[in-house]
Subunit: 154 residues, 2 copies
Amino acid sequence: MKLFLSTTVNKVDRKGRVSVPAGFRTVLAANTTPGVFVFPSFHGACIMGVGSDEMERLADGTESFAAFSPEHEDAARLIFGATHHLNWDETGRILLPAELREHAGIDDQAAFVGVGKRFEIWHPERHREARDTARQRAVETKLSIPMPGSGGAK
Amino acid sequence: MKLFLSTTVNKVDRKGRVSVPAGFRTVLAANTTPGVFVFPSFHGACIMGVGSDEMERLADGTESFAAFSPEHEDAARLIFGATHHLNWDETGRILLPAELREHAGIDDQAAFVGVGKRFEIWHPERHREARDTARQRAVETKLSIPMPGSGGAK
DNA sequence: TGGTATCTCATGGGATGGCATGGGAGTCAA
DNA sequence: TTGACTCCCATGCCATCCCATGAGATACCA
C-alpha cells in the first residue's frame, strides 16, 4: 500500500503556485482519478489533501452515518462543499485556492505533511508548533507507538 | 522468520550516503515493498528502521485508534510526518535525510544495531553509552525477557 | 599448507537527470 | 485594460546512477 510519508516544505510563488512533492504525486497518481482533492481541516489551521479513492471512502463514510446523525450530515456538507479538485501542471505545481490558503494562514511557504492515507498542508511555523505540542502531549500521556503484540498504547 | 541481528558500524561519506549492512538488506528485501522505512525514535537519539510489512502493521495500529482518540491521531501525524521511505542503490547505499542525521547526532559514522523486527541507527559513541547504561539497568532490575505463553516476566 | 583466484561488501568520486523554482507570453472574462 | 489563470521555457541544486578501487573472506589447487 502506498502512503503519504515525511514532511516537505515548498515555496509558494507570487502567483500562488506550489509544487506538490514528487513522492506525493506518485501516490496520488495511483488513484482512479488523477489529481488531488483538498479541503479545510476541521481540527486545525491546515488544508487536508487526499486522492480520489480516499475521497470516495470518505463519501461512503459520511453517507452511512448521515442517516443516523445530523452532525455527520453537517460534516458531509462542510467537507464536500469546501472541497476543490486540483490537477497539477507539467512541472507538478498546483494553484492553492485563496480561501484555503487563508484558512491555513499560508503565505510564501507551505509544509506538506504525510499522514498515511491523507496529507496536510500547513504554514511551516504553525506546523512546527502543532507538532511540538502534539509531541508534548504524547510524552505526557506516556503514549507509545502502538506496535502489534505490545498491547498498544496507554 | 528473518530478524535484524548484531551491530555494524559503517561510514557516512561526504554526500551523506551509508551502506546498509548486507545482512539487513536481505531481511528488508523479504518484505512486500522493497526499501527501508526510517523515522526518529521518540525515546532516544537514534533513527528507527523497519521493513514495509512492519511499517504497515504500524500504520494499521495508528489507524484503528485514530477514530477514537485524538492522541492517536497525534501519533499518526508524528510518525508518518517524520517517516522516510528509502531505496538503496546498486551498491546497497541509502542517503540519510539531514533531519534524521541531526536527530541522531550522526556525522561521519553510523552504527546499525539489530533489534529483532526492527533496527536502530546510532552515532557509534552514543550507542556505546546507551548500551552500557541499559546493561547496567538490566542487571539492577534483574531483567528477564518476557516470553509469550510463559506467563511473562516483569 | 602455502599461495592464488574469486566473490562479496564497503567506499570514493564523476556524471546525469529529476525536481523545485522563477518568469514571460497567451487566453479569457469582468 | 486589468487581473486571474494556464502553458511553455529556463535554471540551478541535489539525489541518484554508474564506474572504479580496496579490503576481507572463502574456495580452490598444487
